[in-house]
């Protein structure tokens, strides 16, 4: 059944319906709106998707591994606040532009540490990742409000906010960072032992245990990676805005999970890839951008995105149904 599609481009599309969908909406918006098909706009789309996209890279690992992380949105806010606040500390006043460095380092460290905490709790207690990270989502958001005293921080160093709107050659710097990370995570997932074992643990945990794979460390590493990417997204977002607000990143976990699932990663683990996740992220980015250009009111955009999510997954189920013998409920 599966090898019938194996090599043909059509088969590839059947397994990754999201990329076919992207082609469709791309063509649609190109004709429907005169401002859509422009290099400037494509750069916009890449920058707009890079925030959700970075987190989605890490989330793909965690979900393939059979877990989920709901705390990423709160981590974005914490990382952004740390980054902006620390670079403005008086101790670093004489550092010039180097003062940005401790801010970024603190943000990324916090992200990795919170990821490690999530991973350790899931590993050592066996409590479901959904519950653990739901707790972390509430707790970390609370921590952000405590830390910021409900205030927004503004970057005093304009080099930091300039970085967010700078270009590297023809591409925006943030888009380049996102693409480099995507390639790195793709190779991590597709070509390394850690990636392979992550699939095995998510696909059949007891078979993985029987193969001598230590399940816990792999989960821990993946939670640390998603924590890192959530923090990195917090840093890039604050650089774009030149500021951090305590409400930053609200609902991001939902957008991230939506993108990853649109890209074909299964909620219960074992399958999915970065090519699909890139598709999911881009599809949402293009839809939001295109509808925005066509001045569709924001609430309708949400309604349409919701319907598309369900429609695409329905299509995926139809295309990749195991056959007639599958139980219908």
């Amino acid at each position: 059944m599966a090898q019938r599609f194996k090599t043909s481009p059509l088969g590839w599309l059947a397994r990754n319906p999201i990329w076919g969908f992207i082609v469709l909406i791309f063509i649609f918006f190109s004709f429907a709106n005169p401002y859509f098909f422009a290099i400037q706009n494509f750069q916009n789309i890449l920058v707009q998707t890079s925030t959700i996209g970075l987190i989605a890279l890490g989330m793909t690992l965690v979900m393939i591994n059979g877990n989920i992380d709901l705390s990423v949105g709160a981590v974005v806010a914490l990382a952004a606040s740390l980054c902006i606040d620390i670079q403005g500390w008086a101790v670093f006043a004489s550092w010039g532009n180097w003062a940005i460095l401790p801010g970024v380092a603190a943000a990324l460290t916090a992200g990795v540490a919170l990821g490690a905490l999530n991973g350790l709790i899931v590993w050592k207690t066996g409590v479901d990742a959904f519950i653990v990270t739901l707790g972390a989502m509430l707790g970390v958001r609370g921590l952000v409000f405590v830390y910021t005293k409900e205030q927004s921080f503004f970057a005093m160093n304009f080099s930091f906010s300039d970085f967010g709107s700078s270009n590297l050659g023809p591409l925006p710097t943030l888009a380049v960072i996102f693409l480099i990370c995507a390639v790195a995570v793709h190779f991590l997932l597709a070509r390394t032992v850690h990636g392979r074992n992550s699939y095995a643990v998510g696909g059949n945990r007891s078979a993985a245990v029987n193969a001598g794979i230590r399940v816990g460390p792999h989960m821990l590493v993946n939670f640390m990676i998603v924590g890192f990417f959530a923090a990195l997204a917090g840093v890039t977002l604050s650089s774009q805005m030149g500021a951090a607000t305590p409400n930053l990143g609200t609902n991001y976990e939902l957008w991230v999970i939506t993108s990853v699932v649109l890209g074909g990663t299964k909620l219960n683990g074992g399958s999915g890839d970065i090519v699909g996740t890139m598709g999911g992220v881009l599809a949402i980015g293009i839809l939001r951008n295109g509808m925005n250009l066509m001045q569709v009111p924001a609430f309708y955009v949400l309604v349409i995105l919701g319907m598309i999510l369900i429609a695409v997954l329905l299509l995926d189920k139809q295309l990749n149904r195991k056959g007639k013998e599958e139980i219908r409920l």
């Binding site: 599966a2 392979r196 059949n204 029987n210 794979i213 013998e325």
Partner: protein, 508 residues
């Protein structure tokens, strides 16, 4: 056992049932009937079509051709609920109960008595459930949570479900698979009671002794076709088995080649793990196949899991070669040269969505790297080697393991462990759910492995299999080794006696 009345109309009759799936004719013109007050046993090897026939009976599958009669009235049954309403009830092998709900709610699941506004009529519910439990002489109440009951009592709940309707026919699918002897006696009483009330009973089991205790008639399926119906009182096991496998049961055993034995690879002394198994001692040498034979639940799998580091022993010692070891995890076991091909390849052995190559290299992928990445070439080389050695049939290594046949899946699991080059290979139920051809290939493979110097432990519930591959056979009963045989001193009788706890003359 009372002989069935000669005249009664069948409670349930199937006529010319055909059911095909893509590529398989699962049922080919099968006719079958069960009379009121009769126990009709249904037998057949794995894949003979028993479960398909059962699902047709219970309304889960619609037959492509053929007719179903209940008390000689033609019916169509489009769902299990409809079948039940017409008086045909299936007691599943895998119990399908909602564990978090009460006994009463489970008994009336899907048809809770109601009051106005859709509220549940709890009073009627508990009263009715209690009445049924009394009939079955159950030791638990309707408000108990099902999750807190023993497996045997959960089965009682399933049976109680069948009694909520005026059941005309009840189908039991391997009901004793997880019951103790005492619980079996209770179950048989209930079956006999149902029978006395005029219910027609279809009884599916692999256990000959049960079938000859309970059944009035015995029908045999093979390759989707009905091969004959025998009257239990006028036949014997040999005739039934011959019908089932289409030939005489092959109890041949291989010629023992004692000369080939190498050093003792594994010696286990006084090993215990709580009440799962106690005071188990045995040894296995390089070049030898040691068979473990016993009933399900005798503790064989648990011993394998302990040797593989999945369980920790509570007493006793394990020696590998000259070294006394404690195996703390599967990774540890693998490092010490022990491999385990687990009992259930789908649940414990394979990552079904992964391709063949990746499944084979799963335990050693960490050693197949060049730089930071897994080396494609090294992996494909290993896959090719074991595909050729084990004659695995797959169009490509890219094929997902879930798409292979059972026999080829099992070869992938075996290949995975051979590729680790273990000293000691433990194989739990090597041929469960595998077609006859692949079976003999796997048996030959096990012999070859021993010949090339592996110490092999084979756990099996099939007597022909242990006889066929083993040099020595360990018989187990209720967590203890009752006897260790050389294969040439085994007879069917003394082996069956040893695994049933009869005549405990220990030979350690």
């Amino acid at each position: 056992m009372t002989a069935p009345d000669k005249t009664p109309a069948p409670a349930l009759r199937l006529e010319g049932i055909v059911k095909t799936f893509p590529g398989v004719r699962a049922l080919d013109d099968v006719s079958f009937e069960v009379r009121h007050g009769e126990v009709h046993a249904l037998l057949g090897e794995n894949g003979a079509g028993k479960s398909t026939l059962m699902k047709v009976l219970a309304g889960m599958y619609q037959p492509d051709e053929g007719r179903i009669f209940i008390e000689e009235r033609p019916v169509t049954m489009r769902s299990p609920l409809e079948a039940k309403a017409r008086g045909v009830v299936l007691i599943h092998q895998e119990l399908s109960l909602a564990e978090e709900m009460s006994v009463a709610e489970n008994i009336y699941l899907g048809e809770l008595p109601r009051r106005s506004f859709g509220r549940v009529d709890w009073k009627t519910l508990y009263a009715n459930a209690q009445a049924i439990l009394d009939r079955l002489k159950c030791g638990f109440g309707p408000k108990d949570r099902v999750g807190s009951l023993s497996i045997a009592n959960r089965q009682m709940v399933e049976i109680a479900r069948a009694l909520t309707v005026d059941a005309k026919a009840v189908v039991f699918d391997e009901p004793t698979a997880s019951l103790t002897d005492a619980e079996k006696v209770v179950l048989f009483d209930i079956i006999n009671d149902l029978k006395a009330r005029g219910v027609g009973i279809v009884y599916i089991s692999h256990r000959m002794d049960e079938i000859f205790t309970l059944a009035d008639r015995i029908s045999v399926l093979r390759d989707g076709a009905h091969r004959g119906t025998l009257i239990a009182a006028e036949t014997d096991e040999d005739e039934v088995i011959q019908l089932m496998i289409g030939r005489k049961l092959d109890l041949s055993r291989h010629e023992r080649e004692a000369a080939n034995l190498g050093a003792v690879a594994l010696r286990v002394e006084g090993l215990s793990c709580g009440s799962l198994f106690e005071d188990v001692s045995f040894e296995v040498s390089e070049g030898e196949v040691l068979g473990f034979y016993g009933l399900v639940g005798a503790g064989r799998t648990e011993i394998a899991e302990t040797l593989f580091g999945l369980r920790q022993p509570t007493a006793g010692s394990i020696r590998i070669g000259d070294e006394t070891v404690s195996v703390t995890s599967p990774a540890d076991a693998i490092a010490r040269g022990i491999s385990l091909v687990p009992e259930s390849r789908k649940e414990q052995g394979l990552v079904l969505g992964m391709n063949c190559r990746d499944n084979i290299t799963l335990p050693q992928v960490g050693d197949l790297t060049s730089g930071p990445f897994v080396s494609d070439g090294a992996e494909v080389a290993i896959f090719d080697q074991y595909r050729d050695l084990l004659k695995i049939k797959t169009p490509s290594w890219r094929q997902a393991v879930g798409n292979l046949s059972g026999g080829n899946q099992q070869k992938i699991v075996i290949g995975k462990w051979l590729a680790m080059r273990p000293r000691i290979l433990i194989v739990d139920e090597p041929t469960r759910g595998i077609d006859v051809g692949s079976k003999s290939e796997i048996h030959a493979l096990i012999r070859d492995l021993a010949k090339s110097g592996y110490a092999v432990i084979v756990i099996s519930s099939e007597m022909p299999e242990v006889l066929h591959v083993s040099d020595r056979i360990v018989a187990m009963y209720h967590g203890r080794i009752t006897r260790t045989f050389d294969v040439d001193e085994v007879t069917e009788d003394n082996l069956v006696a040893a695994i049933s706890g009869i005549g405990q003359d220990k030979v350690a």
